[in-house]
Every structure is written in C-alpha cells, then in structure tokens.
C-alpha cells in the first residue's frame, strides 16, 4: 500500500546537486551543534534569568536578539533550546534505525510467514501518523519528551524496516551471497557481516532525512504544550510562549526559534538528499 511510496516520496525530491549547498548546510549544522554543546559557555545569560528592566526589548548590545515577555534573553534560550531540539531527534533516529534495521533484516532475510506477519504489523503502525502516536503517548504517560521519544522511535522504525527489507531482499539473490553460502558461512553471519554493510549507506541517508521530520514534529509537540514544559528553553515551547507577544506585534521571541527550526531542517534535508544522491540511491523502494 502506502509505505513504499512514503519512502519513495522521501527519496524522490532532489535539490539541485551542488557542493555549495551541501557545505553551507554542514556549516549550519555544525554551528547549531557547537551552540548546543557549549551553550553554558556561549550563552550571554542564564536561559531562565529575568531582566525586569528589559521586557520584550528589541535587539541591543545587552541582548543581541532581544528578550521575551518576561525579560529572558532570546539568544541564550535559543542556544539552550538547541540541546533538546537536536538531542531528542537524534535519540529517535538512532533507536528507530537500530530497531528498523533489525526487523527489516529479519523480514527480508527470512521471508515467508515472518515477513508476512511483520508486513502486516508495519501496515498497522503506518496507519498511525507519528505525531499522533506521540500525542497518544503523552495522553498515556504524561507530558514531557520521554514518552514521545520512545513512541516516535517505534513510529519511525517501520519506515527503516521497509527500506531495509527491500534492500536485503534484492541483495539476497546476489552471487556473492551464494558464494558465501557454498563456503559454509551461516546465514546469520552473511546477513550481519556482509549484507548489512552493503545496505548501510542508503539506510543512513534515509535516517538523516528522518532526523529533519522528527525534529519538526517534536518541536510541534512542544509548541502544542505537550512536550518540553516551561520554563525549560526549547524552540517549540519558546514559540508557544511567544504567541501572545506576536499578536501585539512583538515577533522576535517567536521568529528566532522558528528560523532555527527551519534552518536546521533545510540543512538536514539538503545533506540527506545529497547523501542519497552520492550513494547513487538507484534503489526503487
């Protein structure tokens, strides 16, 4: 049904091939990563420190990107917010990739009824959009990022699994696999030591693209007030808190994290697409 198409959709779009774009994206990601890791050293203020004399202040030498409705420094909050913004999607992507590769490898390698059962399970999970699964997880286990991160790891695993399965199925019939079999290597050894490394780059490119989607969805969850809770600095939560000021024409506390989200997502997408191009992702998923 839809899943293979969903994968194709993620893979189909191509930015015009250009190393300038790739380089610029890598720089953007590096800057945000450094900002996140070294936030305590780089941020001019504590993210929760209130400057009562400068509430909703515009950019100044004191506050480069202004302050929010309670006088907290927007630049500092943006830097600290990069921590949850980058770390949470990383956790989701790593765990969904591990889970998905395992399931896909089993389904593609063993085939038969196991493949059929797993395929049916994937179909059911695909029917639940990932953000909906995350919202459901919050409804069950309470607000915060722990439940959504676990839920989204499960939601994204079938995408990786489908891709892995189709790659492994194609790989299984290759002569080199038969050659190893004749030499008496076990199926598990061939699958994990020889087939898996061959399909890893394509899966890596797909997971890179997933990172952007997950980042946007987790930020959306915090924007809805269901993810990261106040007063913790988080891009989605910052936009949520800045909504009232927005109506009053004070846009900076909302626009700064919004631009951060867009920049990171564009950068990740450009890198992911470039990677899958370079790998020569001629795989029709």
């Amino acid at each position: 049904m839809t899943p293979t198409v969903a994968i194709r959709v993620l893979r189909a779009p191509r930015v015009p091939r250009s190393s300038t774009w790739f380089l610029a994206s890598a720089v953007v990601l590096a800057v945000f990563t450094v900002g996140a890791v070294f936030a305590p050293f780089l941020a001019p203020y504590d993210p929760d420190q209130v400057d009562l004399l400068n509430i909703q202040a515009g950019p100044s030498t004191l506050h480069w990107l202004g302050t929010d409705s309670v006088g907290r420094d927007t630049l500092s909050r943006m830097l600290y917010g990069a921590r949850t913004a980058l770390l949470a999607p990383l956790l989701v992507v790593v765990s969904s990739t591990i889970l998905g590769v395992l399931l896909g490898l089993v389904a593609g390698w063993r085939g038969g009824w196991l493949d059929a059962v797993l395929g049916r399970i994937f179909d059911v999970v695909f029917a639940f959009p990932s953000l909906l699964i995350a919202i459901m997880a919050v409804a069950l286990f309470g607000k915060g990022l722990v439940a959504p991160v676990i839920a989204m790891s499960i939601a994204y695993a079938p995408f990786v699994a489908r891709l892995t399965r189709s790659l492994v199925t194609a790989e299984r019939t290759r002569p080199y696999v038969a050659a190893y079999r004749v030499q008496g290597f076990s199926g598990a050894w061939i699958a994990s030591r020889r087939v898996l490394p061959n399909v890893t780059p394509i899966i890596g490119a797909q997971s890179t693209l997933n990172f952007g989607y997950v980042l946007a969805e987790l930020a959306a969850l915090s924007f809805l007030g269901l993810g990261v809770q106040a007063p913790t600095a988080d891009w989605g939560a910052m936009i949520n808190e800045a909504q009232a000021g927005l109506i009053g024409g004070y846009v900076l506390p909302a626009i700064v994290p919004a631009v951060a989200v867009v920049l990171v997502v564009v950068a990740v997408n450009v890198i992911g697409e470039e990677l899958s191009d370079r790998i020569g992702g001629g795989i029709s998923a």
């Binding site: 969805e217 109506i247 909302a254 997502v265």
Partner: protein, 319 residues
Amino acid sequence: MTAARRVAGKLGALLLTLLLASMLVFFSRFLVPGDPVSFLLRGRKPSAEAVAQVSAQYGLDLPPWQQYLNWLVGVLHGDFGRSLQYRQDVSVVIGERLPITLGLVVMAGTMIAVIGLAAGIVAAVNRGRLMDRAVLIGLTVLGAIPSFVGSIVLIAVFAVQLGWFPSFGSGDGGFVDTLYHLVLPSIALAIVFVVLVSKVTRSSMVDQLGREHVEVATSRGLTRSAVIRRHVLRNSIGPILTVSGVLVAGLLVASAIVEAAFGLSGIGSLLVQSVDRLDFPVVQAIVLLVVTAFVVVNAVIDVLEPWVDPRSAAGAGAR
C-alpha cells in the same frame, strides 16, 4: 484476478488493519501501570459517581477482551462513551467540532491540489532549466517550514503587520466569514503538503518525459501541450494519487497544530485540549477516527487506481 475478487481482498485487508488499529487504540491504556480507574480519573476527584460512571463506561470489572468487545460494539454504533471534561457524549463533542476541521482540510486540500500540481508540472516541463531549479530550491525551503512556524509567520505578516486576515477564531459562524477566517490556517496547513505533491508530480512526470512513447507522440507531430496532457500527465497520475492518500492523515494531524495556533475549535485542538485535561475517552475516539480516515481513504485510492491507471492492474497481474 477479477475486479470483484481484488476489491474483496482489499476490503478484507482494510478490515483487518482497522481491527488491529482499534485494538492498539483500546489496549494502549493497559500499558499504563496501576489501577485503570485512577488512570482514567487522573487529576479529578474520584467521587463515587465518577468512579461508577467510568467503571460502567469501560466495564472495568470484566476481563480485558470483553471490555474491548463492548467498546468496539459501542464504537460501531457511534458510541464513544462520555467525555470526562464536558460530561457529554464524546460523539456529540466531536460532532460539534468536526465542521471546522473538515473545512480546514478541504480548503487546504484544494490549495495543495492546485498549487502542488501546478508547481510540479512547471518544474517538470522545464526540467534542468533555471525555472526548474528555482522551483526546486523554493520547494526545499518551503518543505522545511513546519505548520507551527508557517502559522506564526503568517500571523505576524498578514494578520498583525498587514491586517488583511484575522489571526484568531472562526468568525461569526456565517459561511463567508468562516471561509475568510480559514484562509491563513489553510495556507499554514497546506505548505508542507504542497511541497510533497509537487515533488512527486515533478519526479513522476520527469520519469515519463524520458520514455519512448513521449518521443513517439512528439514525432507524430502532437503539440507540446497535448503530449504533456495526454501522454505525460495521464501516465503520472498513479504516484500522485497514492501520495494524496498519505496526505489525509497528515492533514488531520497537522490540523491540530494549526487549530492551536489560530485558536480554532476543531477536532485537532480538541485532541490537544483533551490530552491536556486528561480526557482519555475523547483522545481515544479522535485517534481512532484519524486512523480510520487514513486507512479508508488509502483503500479507496488503492481500489480506484486501476481505473485511473490501467497499467497498475495489468502490472499486478503480470508480476
């Protein structure tokens, strides 16, 4: 395989997926450790009346599978239990909010179809040229604008700065006024999906443009527009149709974000509010509705595809 058998097979798969999805929605509650009554009544005074109502609604003294069957039978009759926050039937609460969400989805869907197809066609027809690159770069940037970012930018520019559109609520209830209030939310909702549709349209058309039958049609002396319309676009519809199926669930879920940003009271904002106010029956019902919509729409598209694109049926038989 005959058409009837194919449809029957799809229907069976559809029902199985829905059944499994409903189990997932129902039994998810059992993942929460502890006593079900205290879970369902979190944040509320467990008055004897409330406990009795929740116990009766879920049949908590029965074995789990029987609770599920009772719930399922109720759901099939349109009975999703009672909302804890509104003390009304869940179906009534949802019914009141459904029109706004549907309006939003229809309006955004129209924008997605028109703009997404147009951008994809323009890019494909000019593939490799400046126009194509410009569209692609534009799409890459637009595609990275999540609906909550799109919402606040639209509010900042068109509602606050220019004052052209309202930023909050759905108006006085009149049809035109409602539409007027839904313009910005629909755009915010449509952005990401426009990108999806146009990218699929472009790649699907570019794929067709390189085929021999297009060359033949061109060498027969057909005009460029006739070739594009009859031989390229017509053959590209399959993937476009399939991706529209994926859109449905995406739109319904993203609607939650847009409704929250624009203060609209649809089922999306109801979902968020119900999670916030620990009203689990409403959450369950909305999740089930969204999933059902997704599965049904995709099944319909699956069944329709061979009529729109006869090759897909032939291909399935030949393989």
